[in-house]
Structure formats: structure tokens, C-alpha cells
């Protein structure tokens, strides 16, 4: 295993043991705060993320090494926002095509995306795909006419495929590099020799999984028994909800 981002990492931390349904609701609450532009909530989310990473005993140093691509992507996004957002230029350096509004917008966008990525990495690291599937089925079950088992399976497979595709990108990139593919700088040529093989492999793998599911007698009409969520698992959710509401109330009262 060379890559750790967006993979489940087995462990016995409190986060690993936390009920999957509670984890999912916790993630939904955090996601709700990330679609706003409230700085206090962003600061809270960031501190919470760091604390949760420590709590989950996640190898943060190794993760940071893997995030070069995302860091580059966020930096390019930041530059675009800074350079192309209309607004007031700085008086001291008027020659710079940078506006105060652009700087603020770029910073907030990158902060938000960084937090989304961070929570996605943390959630997938401490949640088994099966737990996620069961959580989805549990949530969707009360809604009539929805094939909750099929939706749950599709979401967990999508998550797995996303991670597998990233692994394939790494593997094909290495094979490309072994034949000096990194020497040519033409982006179209690079994309052709990287994207097409990965796309083809992904389609073939999806087909294989379909056959494998059918061969192993997959049925989505079987019932699943869900245990009751223990009160101890619900407490952190109430606490999180309470803190988020308090911050929001202080900000907007």
C-alpha cells in the first residue's frame, strides 16, 4: 500500500469505534457549516479537524507528503480568484493586479476546499465502506419507494472506485515514468497516455465487479437488522450540534 489518502486505515481509535451512523451525521453537520462563509465556524472546523486527526492516530506527516497534487490545485485556484476577482486594489502596490476582495475570496475558497478534503480523508480513513453503506441504508429506509440497499451499495462502491482509480493513476504514472514518460512536457500527450488507460481499466473493473456481485448472488431485497445506537455514541453528536449552534448564534444574534 503506497497511498493512504481516501483509504480505510484499520485502527482501534475512538473514531474508528464510533457508530458509522453517528459519524455520517457528524459529517453532515460539518458539511452544513462549510457551505456558509462564517469565519468562526471555519476556525472551529479547522481546530476540530486537527483534533480528530490526532484522535484517530492518523499518520499526518505521510498524508502531507501525498497532498502535493491537491496543494498545487488549491494554489492555482487561489491565484485565479486573486487575479480575476474585481474589486479594490491595494494602495501601496497599485501595480499588482490583486484585489482585496479577490484575496479574501481566494483564501476562503481554498480554506473551504482544504477542509472538505481533510474531512473526506478522515472519514474514509476511520469508516469501513460497509459501515457507510449500512448508515445510508438506515437513513434512507424510512423513505418509501427508494431502493435504499441499492443506493447504499452504489455509494460505497463509488467511494471504493474513487480510491481504486487514484491507486491506478499512481500505478500507471509509475509505469509511464519507468519508460521516461515524464520527460515529455506536452500535456495532451501526457493526458492521452495516462487518462485513456485509466479510463479503460476503470470501465473494465466496474464490469468485473458487476459480474462478481452477480456471481456471488447479490440481492437487494433482503432485510438488514440494525442495532440501536448506544447513548454514549449519540452524546458526541449532541455536543457537536450544540457547539455549532452556539457559534452560529453568537455570530448572528
Amino acid at each position: 500500500m503506497a497511498r493512504i489518502a481516501l483509504h480505510y486505515l484499520p485502527g482501534n481509535s475512538l473514531l474508528h469505534r464510533w457508530d458509522g451512523r453517528c459519524k455520517f451525521f457528524g459529517l453532515l453537520m460539518i458539511t452544513a457549516t462549510l457551505i456558509q462563509t462564517n469565519i468562526s465556524l471555519f476556525i472551529f472546523d479547522s481546530l476540530l479537524l486537527v483534533a480528530l486527526f490526532i484522535l484517530s492516530r492518523f499518520p499526518i506527516k505521510e498524508l502531507l507528503r501525498e497532498l502535493k497534487f491537491w496543494a498545487t490545485f488549491l494554489f492555482i485556484l487561489f491565484l485565479f480568484q486573486v487575479l480575476f476577482t474585481p474589486g479594490t486594489r491595494f494602495i501601496s502596490s497599485h501595480w499588482l493586479p490583486v484585489t482585496k476582495e479577490g484575496l479574501l475570496l481566494g483564501g476562503l475558497t481554498c480554506w473551504r476546499l482544504g477542509l472538505i478534503l481533510g474531512y473526506a480523508v478522515l472519514f474514509t480513513a476511520v469508516t469501513r465502506p460497509r459501515e457507510l453503506r449500512d448508515a445510508l441504508i438506515w437513513i434512507l429506509k424510512p423513505i418509501p419507494f427508494l431502493p435504499e440497499r441499492r443506493i447504499g451499495l452504489m455509494v460505497s462502491l463509488t467511494l471504493r472506485f474513487f480510491s481504486r482509480t487514484l491507486d491506478q493513476v499512481e500505478e500507471v504514472s509509475l509505469a509511464n515514468k519507468a519508460r521516461l514518460g515524464d520527460r515529455k512536457k506536452n500535456p495532451i500527450r501526457k493526458a492521452k497516455f495516462l487518462v485513456l488507460p485509466i479510463l479503460r481499466r476503470s470501465i473494465l473493473e466496474a464490469e468485473e465487479v458487476t459480474f462478481a456481485l452477480a456471481a456471488r448472488g447479490y440481492r437487494d431485497d433482503l432485510s438488514i437488522h440494525f442495532s440501536k445506537i448506544p447513548m454514549g455514541h449519540l452524546m458526541p453528536l449532541f455536543l457537536l450540534g450544540g457547539v455549532l449552534l452556539t457559534i452560529w448564534w453568537i455570530q448572528y444574534r
Binding site: A178, L180, L196, P197
Partner: protein
Amino acid sequence: MIQIQNLHHRYPDGTYALRGIDLHVSKGEFLLICGPNGSGKTTLLRMMSGLLKPSDGSILINGFDSIKDSLKVRQIVGMVFQDPDSQIVGETVKEDVAFGPENLGLSLKEINERVDLAIEKMGLQGLSEKPCYLLSGGEKRRLAIAGVMAMKPDVILFDEPFSHLDYPGIQEALKYMTRLHQEGHTLIVTTHDVEKVIAHIDRMAIIQKGEIQAFGHPEHLVKELPRFGVRPPCYVLLGGEKISWLE
């Protein structure tokens, strides 16, 4: 030719893949690195080809450091991946074989000559315009070798070259490997299945839990294989002469 000193590697999750590997491979040698699954064979090969950076230690290929002179090392060392589908990037056989020579910045004439020669040597003449995804397992393996050969490397690394191949496929792969060895290439093969290649190698190294447990002439080591989780060849189990899979 290849000098590996005190090589260590640790995965991001903290698992040690390699611990203190020391190895010397001479020019023109055919070396087998065998060991059970997860023993560190693939990681070691990827480091030799300059694709992975070790946590500690060094690898010198013809005097070039695998990290500092990674580009030069990748010109000297070609690697055939375990899964040919990872390696095949072209739409057709010819386009895929040309991928490496194009990256070397050669002239079109030189590229075409190398591609034709590699295709001919690997017995893919009739398939040069065939889409790669329609090839059989054996043909894909031959194409992967052709893609590497077209770059004319001195050293060729084979990662589990016999996996997913049927009997004729194994014979084909082995035939081309022995031919490459006869032509003077240095070959390093990793496998847990020593049976198929034992009759053709010069030396072997047994790797387990990221450490070289034994290194030397195959005749001296084959009886030791079960101790390290590797099945010995049939001729050792049943008694008798060494048999080549090409016979």
C-alpha cells in the same frame, strides 16, 4: 553493475517494506529474487529502477545514484510490471512500443527501427496495428517486454513475469528472457514460483519480511526455500535432475 547498500524502506502506514538490503549484481548476470507475498520484492525492484525513493541507503547502477540520477538510471534499467495493463498505454501495439523510444527523444527513423525490431523479436509482427485491449494475456506480456526492449536498456527487471500466464505463455516469456540474457542483458526476476526459472538463473536471493535471508548459487539454496515460505522446485522434492520449462 548494481550496488545496493543498507537499503531501508518504510510505507506511509509505518510498515517496514525493506530492512538493510545489501546486494551486488554483476553485468550480464541473471538473478532471481524470490520470497513469499509481501516480502518486499516489488518495492526492491521499483527502487532499483529509480521509481521509488528509499527511506535510507543507496542504490548505484553503473555508478549512477538511483535517486540523484533517476533519469539516467531509468534509461539503463527497464522494468516489466507485474500487471501488463498498468504498463500498456498505447492504443495499438505499435504505438505502445513507440512510447519509450519517443520519450528518449530519438529521431522518427530510429524510433521506427527500434519499434520494428522489438516487435519482431517478441513475435508480435502480425499484431502491430491491433488494439492493445484485445490482446491475450501472453501477448500483453510480450508487448510489455517489447515496450521495454525498444528502449535498449542494459538491465531488465521482471516483476512476477509468469503470473496469470498459461503453460505456453510461461514458455514464451521464459524463451524471450533467456534470449535477452544470451544477448548480454542483466536480468533480475522476482517471483515466489521459482520452479519456472530455476534452470536458467546464475544466482538467487531469498527475501523475507524485507530482509535478504540467503544469497548465492541456486544449487546451494534450493533446499532452504521452504524455511522462508517458498516452495522448492519439483526436482528437489522428487529428486532428480534440474528441468527447464523450455524443454
